[in-house]
């Protein structure tokens, strides 16, 4: 099981801020495509992914128990 977090416009498009999935042992890229298609998400090419609170790249492998966060372009400050 992995925990997936969504923020900002993604949270609104999906209708919730987190979900649990059993898509472990796949690269970030695949989870991204899967969710993009399933929820018809917009602007996913601008969205970063963090695994366990650290920025990850598309090739990084998601492991069982990971917390994966989808991070749209930040706008704090």
């Amino acid at each position: 099981m992995i925990k997936v977090l969504f923020f900002a416009h993604l949270q609104e498009e999906i209708g919730r801020g987190e979900m649990e999935l059993d898509n472990a042992d796949i690269p970030v890229r695949n989870l991204k495509s899967y969710l993009q298609e399933k929820y018809n998400l917009s602007r996913m090419d601008q969205v970063m992914v963090a695994i366990n609170e650290e920025y990850a790249v598309d090739d990084d492998e998601i492991k069982d128990g990971d917390v994966v966060a989808f991070i749209p372009p930040v706008s704090g400050g």
């Binding site: 609170e53 372009p73 706008s75 704090g76």
Partner: protein, 157 residues
């Protein structure tokens, strides 16, 4: 100095950040206060809403502090960002930097706000008279080819 970096949902007390960085070795303290501005490029903001991925945001603020202490020795850094609903003139972020000398205090402070806008997972939703939008969402900037976000144009730029 973990408690020098915080994300809160209540008003920020600037003085408490000044107190955190005040020390006998310091001759200069710089403070940056980011406030909610009413007008941005002809659009009137009514309120703002900030959302954060809180544990990661605090971690990234802490990393910014470490970057600063590595680049500008003998500095002390404190940063608090507010989340939730904010009105015009409300304070969204306060950055405090102390240093023996003022040049480092100015440079390090400006570096901090730039880095916040690059790497800290906090999002701003603008509520205008005619609608609302998550900023970042709206900017249509280039994607992040390197896996790292770029600096973007924001409220106090």
């Amino acid at each position: 100095m973990t408690d020098n970096f915080d994300i809160i949902d209540t008003p920020i007390d600037t003085q408490s950040l000044i107190d955190k960085v005040t020390k006998r070795e310091a001759g200069a303290i710089t403070i940056f206060i980011g406030t909610v501005r009413e007008w941005t490029e002809g659009k009137k903001t009514l309120t703002l809403e900030y959302q954060a991925y809180k544990p990661m945001a605090i971690q990234k603020l802490k990393e910014i502090g470490e970057e600063i202490q590595s680049k500008w020795p003998k500095t002390e850094v404190a940063i608090t960002h507010r989340i939730g609903h904010l009105g015009i003139t409300d304070i969204a972020v306060v950055i405090a930097v102390s240093s023996p000398h003022r040049k480092a205090a100015y440079e390090a402070n400006e570096y901090a706000i730039k880095r916040i806008k690059q790497i800290v997972p906090i999002w701003k939703k603008e509520h205008w008279e005619d609608g609302e939008t998550w900023i970042g969402d709206q900017l249509e900037t280039t994607p992040y080819p390197s896996g790292k976000p770029n600096v973007k144009d924001e409220s106090n730029d």
